[in-house]
């Protein structure tokens, strides 16, 4: 107890005179309508991580649900703290380091992040912070039911700094030159590459480093609580409006378009998945429906600022079809154990979405000036592919190295005994549900 108190007093002292001046009088430049929407959108994106927690948590076995919820909530805590301390600066400084790969330390501890602008910089910072929470959280579906918690925390912290921040900097943070994906004109409205391809490939790498769960594939029980997964899907869908329409950073026509196409693509993808199941198995499943819907949400993310509602039908139908083929046919053929299909849904869905943005983009959409292939601009496809490849390579390689390093130092794979008993009890000393009383 003594140790704790000393630590605390130290912390207190350290924070007491924080040298850093953070802002100023309320600026007249602030647009209240835009600020109102962005406050809401930011809250919505925060809610996506609990949503994801239930989407994932319902799909694992009963003995592991808490470990999934815990990992999601730990992302909400840990990533926030890292983000305000240093992550935001690395991703969004307008001055660059290491050849433009990273931003620099200008905004360390939010130094110089004020309350000015159409929407305040602080608001942009926290909106982006929510993205920095959910992106790592997405990955955990790949190694659910078998990753040790300490290794998880270390890996995720490093991943945020060394993978997420740079990719974010390249696409949205103003990187120029070799890493200037945004400068190139890559269409990634709300994070098809930065978020989904990025997390998806890291997830794939994770499955290879960690190996399979015991008994996979034949003897893994089905989802222990599908209603929880549906609840999570509902919250994700709801929160995703903040993610996509919020990425307009204003309550304008671009936000409205992003909102509309999010709804349309998601609906179309859910419908497509169901129709495929109906044709192939004669029955539609709830898990298929929500998986399709999430695939649609993923795919429309990069394209939400540049395609219209009719294009969104195409994006959604493609997402449902391609992700279905991947999850139901290609993954089993390869036989790796991506527990909750993070690569199949987010990786593949994100790649498809980034390509689709290059197909259906039209300058008839407010706030967008880029046309895609179908509107006469074939070059856009090339730009999109470049962004995808950069992300795949960087995230793939660095994630692999990080996994290996963290494994060597802390260990990442739960023991056979722990896996059998379940991570809830062995890693968190709790049971999700009581049997008695």
């Amino acid at each position: 107890m003594k140790r704790l108190i000393t630590t605390f007093l130290f912390l207190l002292a350290a924070l007491a005179f924080p040298g850093i001046v953070m802002g100023a009088e309320e600026p007249s430049s602030l647009n209240k309508g835009d600020t109102a929407w962005m406050l809401t959108a930011t809250a919505l994106v925060l809610l996506m991580t609990p949503g994801l927690a239930f989407f994932y948590g319902g799909l694992v076995r009963r003995k592991n649900i808490l470990s999934v919820l815990m990992q999601c909530f730990m992302c909400m805590c840990l990533m926030t703290v890292i983000w305000v301390l240093v992550g935001y600066s690395l991703a969004f400084s307008d001055e660059h380091m290491l050849g433009g790969m990273f931003g620099n330390f200008k905004h360390l501890f939010l130094s110089g992040v004020g309350y000015d602008g159409n929407i305040p910089d602080q608001l942009f910072m926290i909106f982006q912070g929510m993205f920095a929470i959910i992106t790592p959280a997405l990955i955990l579906g790949a190694f659910a039911e078998r990753m040790k918690f300490t290794g998880f925390c270390i890996f995720m912290s490093l991943w945020l700094l060394l993978v997420y921040c740079p990719v974010c900097h390249w696409v949205w943070g103003g990187a120029t030159g070799f890493f200037g994906l945004g400068e190139d004109g890559a269409l990634d409205f709300a994070g098809g590459t930065v978020v989904h391809v990025n997390a998806g490939i890291a997830a794939l790498v994770a499955t290879f480093v960690l190996g399979k769960r015991q008994g996979y594939p034949g003897k893994i029980s089905p989802p222990h609580n599908l209603p929880f997964a549906v609840l999570g899907a509902g919250l994700l869908w709801f929160g995703w409006f903040g993610f996509n329409a919020g990425s307009a950073l204003a309550a304008n026509g671009s936000a409205v378009n992003a909102f509309v196409v999010t709804q349309v693509a998601t609906a179309m993808a859910g419908l497509t998945w169901s129709i495929i199941e109906r044709i192939r198995n004669g029955k539609t499943t709830v898990l298929g429906m929500i998986t399709g819907a999430v695939a649609g949400l993923v795919a429309i993310t990069p394209a939400a600022g540049s395609v219209n509602a009719m294009g969104a039908l195409g994006v959604g139908a493609g997402a449902g079809l391609i992700c279905y083929i991947f999850v139901a046919a290609i993954k089993p053929a390869f036989g790796y154990d991506d527990s909750l299909d993070v690569f199949g849904v987010h990786g593949i869905g994100g790649i498809w979405g980034a390509l689709a943005a290059g197909l259906w983009a039209t300058n008839a959409v407010p706030g967008n000036e880029t046309n895609g292939l179908f509107y006469g601009n074939p070059e856009q496809i090339g730009i999109q592919i470049k962004a995808i490849v950069y992300t795949l390579v960087w995230s793939g390689v660095v994630s692999f190295i990080l996994f290996k390093v963290v494994d060597a130092v802390f260990g990442i794979k739960a023991s056979e005994h722990e896996e059998r008993i379940g991570l809830d009890l062995t890693e968190h000393a709790e049971a999700a549900y009581t049997v008695v009383e």
């Binding site: 594939p217 199941e277 898990l287 298929g288 279905y324 999850v327 139901a328």
Partner: protein, 113 residues
């Protein structure tokens, strides 16, 4: 004394308890179980992964009775739950050596009811 175990369809529980009550068999312990029998389970599909789905929800009744109640009990259960469709269930009769009521400490046949 006998210890009767019956596996029945979930939607027959109320009927079975009504019928048992009529025969004066009022005390029963009910458990939710899963059964694998002649009635085949429903196949399941999870993201393309197919499961045989061998188990179906059933209800298990456990009833301790004195010997003269055995037939009444069996026939009450049968009456209430027979639909002549596969999956109706089974009744098992096990010997029971002793019975004690915790509240009073009574033992033997008197403790059963």
């Amino acid at each position: 004394m006998k210890y009767i175990v019956a596996i029945i369809q979930p939607d027959c529980l109320n009927a079975a308890m009504d019928e048992l009550g009529k025969q004066g068999v009022d005390l029963v312990t009910v458990t939710e179980v899963m059964g694998h029998g002649r009635q085949k389970g429903e196949a399941q599909v999870y993201r393309g992964h197919k499961e045989a789905g061998r188990l179906l929800r059933k209800i298990k009744l456990e009833i301790a009775v004195n010997d003269d109640y055995v037939d009444k009990t069996i026939s009450a259960i049968t009456t209430a739950t027979r639909t002549e469709q596969i999956g109706d269930g089974k009744i098992f009769v096990l010997p029971l050596e002793q019975c004690a009521r915790i509240r009073t400490g009574e033992v033997g046949p008197v403790a059963i009811g």
